[in-house]
Amino acid sequence: MSELSVNHLLGIKYLKAEDIDLIFKTADHFKEVINRPIKKVPSLRDITIANLFFENSTRTRLSFELAEKRLSADIVNFSAASSSVKKGETLIDTVNNILSMKVDMVVMRHPNPGAAVFLSQHVDAKIINAGDGAHEHPTQALLDSYSIREKLGDVKGKKVVIVGDILHSRVALSNIFALQLQGAEVKVCGPKTLIPKHIEELGVEVETNLIKALEWCDVANMLRVQNERMDMTYFPSTREYTQQYGVNKKILNQLGKEIVIMHPGPINRGVEITSDVADSKNAIILDQVENGVAIRMAVIYLLASKI
């Protein structure tokens, strides 16, 4: 297959396994490009991309911007904090105004689940979802799987546990879809209050005991506790959360095997993982960040060829 089956990247649930293969194959080439002395190719020099961030982001936004620049696309940036959204403009109006200035592709992060899908139905541009509420964050899931593939050779047959705040996490949902599509086994682990009801329907097992989960897995993806999304108290205290679900070096040493530690960032050091774990050789957190640029270049490149 040499073409994506979709016209937008709205979520992993719309992709096929072959799409993921194609994105990874293309990302391999871009990873080589971004390690050259000159890290830029002119492929997308006639494409304009708008980055619309209706919610705060540092890593994802930077990563998208770098990916776009290394493909030589023209970019415009937009953040909700300094815009007419504050003056009451609707999403479609905002985006259509931007598209009138001849923009070909929109990368959007939005606090409402489904915002990217909604936009793709109403405007004439390629849409990349950079996170919509607690729904999906497809490029993060792609770069996570890509990093697992790079570290362990293959995703198929691997056991991955996602630990932490599953309830508020778009990373968890996209990761579950992506990992299952590639034939990995997935468990989620966290306090009952932070695990969505009926998550078993997605074919994932729930494990509330961290040690058992770590003993089972090849890879542990440690999520951040998203305090800013919590409208009520989900656990008694951060200290108690750390005691139950924080990973430290002592726990890793007791496992009797090596597991890979991932984190989508930003890390709360000392809460979900301790510093010595985050900086250990088990952690591939910075590889994830590097791979993020290659993955986003691949996604943008493949979608741009459909314009």
């Binding site: 073409e3 080439h29 080589e32 002395p37 000159i38 830029k40 190719v41 002119p42 060829s305």
Partner: protein, 179 residues
């Protein structure tokens, strides 16, 4: 579809030796020279030239790279499908080196134009030359000519020059294929 043979294995063998000798005449010990095969099809030719230099002329260390030009092409979004990339493998800096691009067929010159841009990502070469097996005369879109050439061919636009290597087909041969 009909096809006519342009070169057989023996003729290709002779031409490759001649091209290797011409390179040798100019570059002597290849201490400042690197060969760069253009992906996908120039790579086979580059490997053959390297092999001849090694086995017949006692030059075991001639550096060969593979350059993929997909992301530098000027026909992105003009074809139906995304352009599929190949591996780039250049494990040396080309800064101040004499670079010889190697490709099987020189046709419009657009691939070489893209390669000239692409190689800049690996440094500023001292000079760049071009070696091709087949030169399709009178079909250039750009002012690009090869410095070392195997055989000139007159082919009209509906025709295609097909170069086979034992590495990717059953034999070494060059055909002119009518669509």
């Amino acid at each position: 579809m009909s096809q006519k043979i342009l070169l057989n294995a023996k003729e290709i063998e002779i031409i490759l030796h001649r091209l290797a000798c011409q390179l040798l005449e100019k570059h002597l010990d290849f201490s400042e020279t690197v060969l760069v095969g253009i992906q996908p099809r120039g790579v086979f030719l580059a490997d053959r030239i390297q092999k001849i230099l090694k086995e017949n002329y006692g030059l075991p260390d001639v550096k060969v790279g593979k350059l993929d030009i997909t992301f530098y092409r000027d026909d992105f979004r003009r074809s139906d499908k995304p352009l599929e990339a190949n591996k780039t493998k250049i494990e040396f800096l080309v800064e101040d080196k004499r670079v010889v691009f190697i490709d099987d067929v020189l046709y419009t010159g657009r691939s070489i134009r893209a390669a000239l841009t692409a190689i800049q990502s690996f440094g500023r070469p001292k000079e760049i030359e071009l070696l091709t097996l087949i030169d399709r005369r009178f079909s250039r879109h750009l002012p690009i000519q090869s410095d070392y050439n195997g055989r000139q061919v007159d082919a009209i636009n509906e025709e295609r020059v097909l170069v086979n290597w034992t590495e990717n087909a059953s034999e070494d041969s060059v055909y002119l294929v009518k669509k």
